[in-house]
């Protein structure tokens, strides 16, 4: 049966563990993410221009903005893949510039734009990442995730031979292998049909509710952000030009939905945005 037909579309309740994976109780009160005066300059462009924000633990937050706004650059810095020009980044209580290996085992990342190696099977890919995270009982973990995300039927298939929807679910399985306290997502439902996209959003909601994890996503999908996120940071040209809950932003700009707010911000001048904000 094709994935998603009939009532199997209901997001499975994640059941990887009975308890949330919050192991660092002492740092529980610190925000999951704290960014201060973050700057990233490239020789020919300013990708991030002095942004500061925090993401509280246990919420789903979004970085919103048009192409080139600095969302992916910010996520890359949070992941330790990219070094900032200036500023500080704390993730799960750890300084990512000095001690990223303390935070990396407790976080994970998924993006439809970064495929898993094509020639390895889905199971081989997941096994390798499970080993990289030092997980015990890897086979069992993969089987349970496969059941949860409905990927069991193609665990032995090369990752390169999956459809876009299948790839997204496999990427999500990889991102949830270590049951991360912080999950960073870049366009989590890009290139998915509405049905599959809706399933993924449901799954993420269920995962956060069960584990108390924090989710920070970069997205262009306003409906998705309205549904999932309690905090939104609107980015433009490397800066955060406004922030708040989706409802607060919609009210502030006198619009009917977040997409209209997005368009207003994307097309508006800095002076006007500062006046509204």
């Amino acid at each position: 049966m094709r994935f998603g037909e009939s009532d199997e579309r209901q997001p499975a309740s994640p059941m990887l563990a009975d308890q949330p994976a919050m192991s660092h109780i002492g740092a529980m009160f610190e925000p999951a993410v704290t960014v201060e005066n973050l700057v990233k300059h490239y020789p020919t462009a300013v990708a991030v221009d002095g942004i500061s924000f925090t993401v509280r633990r246990g919420v789903t937050a979004a970085l919103l903005g048009g192409n080139g706004a600095g969302k992916t650059t910010t996520l890359s810095i949070l992941l330790g893949l990219l070094l900032p020009t200036a500023g500080s980044v704390r993730v799960l209580g750890e300084d990512m510039l000095r001690h990223r290996y303390r935070a990396l085992p407790r976080m994970n990342f998924s993006s439809p734009f970064v495929d898993l190696p094509h020639r390895l099977t889905v199971r081989q890919n997941l096994l390798i990442y499970a080993r990289l995270y030092g997980l015990p009982r890897r086979g069992e973990r993969i089987e349970r995730l496969a059941e949860d995300l409905q990927i069991a039927g193609f665990l032995e298939r090369p990752a390169g031979k999956l459809s876009a929807g299948q790839k997204t679910r496999v990427a999500l399985a990889k991102a949830l292998l270590n049951e991360p306290e912080l999950l960073l997502l870049d366009e989590p439902t890009a290139s998915l049909d509405p049905d599959t996209g809706d399933w993924v959003r449901g799954y993420l909601e269920a995962y956060r509710a069960r584990t108390g994890a924090t989710i920070l996503m970069a997205s262009h999908n306003m409906a998705e952000v309205e549904r999932l996120c309690s905090e939104v940071m609107m980015m433009k040209a490397g800066r955060i030009v406004d922030r708040g809950s989706p409802k607060a932003l919609i009210d502030r700009y006198g619009r009917t939905n977040l997409e209209e707010v997005f368009l207003h911000i994307a097309r508006g001048s800095h002076a006007e945005l500062e006046r509204v904000a």
Binding site: K40, L81, L82, Y101, R119, I128, Y129, R131
Partner: protein, 268 residues
Amino acid sequence: MNGRGHSAARVWAMLLRYLYLLRSSWPRTVELMYWPTLQMLIWGFMSQFLYVNSSYVFRAFGVLLAAVMLWDVLFRGQLGLSMSFLEEMWARNLGHLFVTPLRPYEWVLSLLSMSMIRVLLGILPAALLAIPLYHYSIFSMGLPLVAFFAVLLVMGWALGMAICGLILRQGMGAEGLAWTVVFTLSPISAVYYPVSILPSWLQHVAWALPSTYVFEGMRAVLFTGIFRADYLLTAAALDVFFVTLGAAAFLFAFHDARRRGALLQMGE
């Protein structure tokens, strides 16, 4: 599991990744053995011809065969490392790997291990085939062979790490270096002829390479039965120097790639 145990587990995880890749394509495995075997056949027959027509080969039948097989240790050692590295580039996988707790040095250790496996898979069948074909066993060199193998493998690693660093720095446009750079060392490493054949100014360059000591040492063992420990020590010291340089170049390039944001973009 302690920290060291975790580190070993991550190195093993990456090694497993490359073994899965190797296993997923039998033509690739066959290709590993194909070139060393072909080289051995060509030089074996050439040696048989020269044995009756050349005083040089007459002094020791296996001199050319041993040279070609040892040269392949250097070449395959470098290529084995570079190929596993390139697999990650082609798969655009660095963005996934380096959001895990994997450290760059652990990745390098897995690349080195895979290089050794690829060298053994490539060279051993050729070396074994030479025994029934030409009644020549490279293993008759005994322990010196182990020393020569180790020096050349480490030199291949040094070169491989430097090349991978260059690819990280310059992007996939520099991919061709993985196949070509090592051949520039072949003429000055005195693989098939004594170093004294080279012009005197080039001999200084030759003696700065660990490989030259290996091939001169190999000829000393085959022609006179004397193992030149002084050659081995000098080669080992040069290896330490070059491998430190190669590792530093790689780690610097990796850090630079993080600064430039290349880890997410690197690939075809």
